[in-house]
Symmetry: C3
Subunit: 218 residues, 3 copies
């Protein structure tokens, strides 16, 4: 659930595409911050706790990825706009809590899946830019996409949902695998990023629609 | 609750002030280590667990801050005296447990508030020294001051107190905000550090005295 | 429980010894990954959670140590073979769960103690190689050896076993202390590594056999 990689992966793109990516990045940050804040209020946290969970849910995955790949200080620590967007998401929930709970679940799930796709692809690309091997880049997609939600669950002393149910990190890794695999076959980088992101989004949405989980072992 | 920033922020101060700051830094480390050890014993940990919680409570916030701002290895990993002071705090509780529980709560709260103020100011200054933006420096004050206690709570599988109740991280951020804001207005750096620290201390003490919490939302 | 240090500490050893150490390193990684996967299944995680806990248990301690000593990106992020070995351990448990539960506990305990000894010694040596002081190197032995298991417990929202019972991190620190102490006395480095590792292994095995715990305070 962390977008902060996007701005770091614009090498070679023109200014307009860079601005588009940055805008999408902030949009994803905002969505995940809102989700973190909703969980914080459900968990009985105070307003500071709500803002902390907004920040951790939205930016924790990307910060963890940046620490692991050696991109320090992490992008969302250097660029304060990420924190501002995350806090805006938390403040939205604090001040408009009644309206936020009226948002249709399907809309939240769809926006979350879009954000997951963006962050998975951006996370894998940044890992490759920092010289990581393809397998590790795919793992970094999962960490970028689900690390923030894992932190959120740990702060609330829940076993992280991503380890127990749903198709979430697997969707992130599938998208990254498609992108990285295509690039290795020499297919155009930008196209494969789009195809990878679409794969992640489609798998996540279908799995929610169908109620898919990974099979549990006895 | 982490002081290890102090020694890293002495540029431009003379040797005597540096020694004073280092002494205060160790004193704060000791106080937070004692608090971590008391929580560890209440949580049923063994002596190793007590020492680990002393270390994590006293130094975890500063270590986390140093990792985030790119100051690696963290100051309290490089300088072994911090670990020695933290373990001394843990050992005090292990061997003098009966006496430690007789310490008046108000004394512990006061010492803790003094340490919080010191570490918040030192954490914000170190973040600025490493080129972080003012907003992020204020956040680093909160992480330096309350990161160790958060780690302590997570090790004991409690939802961190700082996210649920009290005015604690908010006091740290208030102090840092006063200092950073004053410096941006061109006021003298050392004076603003003192005023910021005093603001943090006063807000923390008044909030304990009055039983203040942040307002909870329905 | 993390071995990834071993490959980083081969300076001055010939190729054959390097290959032996790397093989032992992978063997230890595999054993701890199996243990992480068993705990994950007992905790009701799905297959993704099983693989995540394999990775975290086997490699988390070494990753944490590398972040703390400034060896970024961590060895087991750079070299994808560690992840592959960890996932192989997790997959073994997923597909051969019935057989794994038939493994005699004493065998698992013995293999775990051997891995602990290897990782403690390797962790302390790597810390010394990165310029840490002897006390901190001994602490890094404990983090390398027990950090992964601590992460595993936190993901399952258990208070980490290493903080509550058994002689585990203490065995790691004893072995590292013997090695570091001997080297400071000028005794041959390779011999002291073997003696230190043997001390850790012996203390761990005897403590399991005798049911030793650290004394709890009232």
């Amino acid at each position: 659930m962390d977008p902060s990689a996007v701005a770091g992966t614009q090498a070679g793109t023109d200014g307009r595409e860079a601005r588009l990516l940055l805008g999408l990045d902030f949009a994803g940050t905002y969505v995940f911050a809102v989700e973190g804040a909703i969980a914080a209020i459900a968990g009985g946290l105070d307003p500071l706790g709500v803002l902390v969970l907004s920040f951790a849910t939205a930016l924790g995955g990307g910060i963890l990825r940046d620490l692991l790949i050696g991109a320090t200080p992490p992008n969302s620590i250097r660029d304060e706009r990420y924190a501002l967007v995350a806090f805006a998401g938390g403040a939205t929930v604090l001040f408009l809590h009644r309206f936020v709970t009226d948002v249709p679940p399907l809309l939240l799930v769809t926006l979350d899946a879009a954000g997951l796709s963006l962050f998975a692809i951006a996370g894998a690309r940044k890992a490759l830019d920092f010289g990581l091997r393809p397998l590790m880049a795919v793992l970094m997609a999962a960490i970028t996409g689900s690390g923030g939600g894992t932190l959120r669950d740990l702060f609330l002393t829940h076993v992280p949902t991503v380890l127990r149910a749903d198709i979430y990190a697997v969707a992130a890794m599938t998208g990254a695998f498609v992108m990285v695999g295509g690039q290795r076959l020499g297919w155009p980088s930008r196209t494969m990023a789009l195809v990878g992101g679409a794969s992640c989004f489609a798998l996540r949405m279908v799995s929610v629609w169908r109620g898919w989980n990974l099979p549990h072992f006895p």
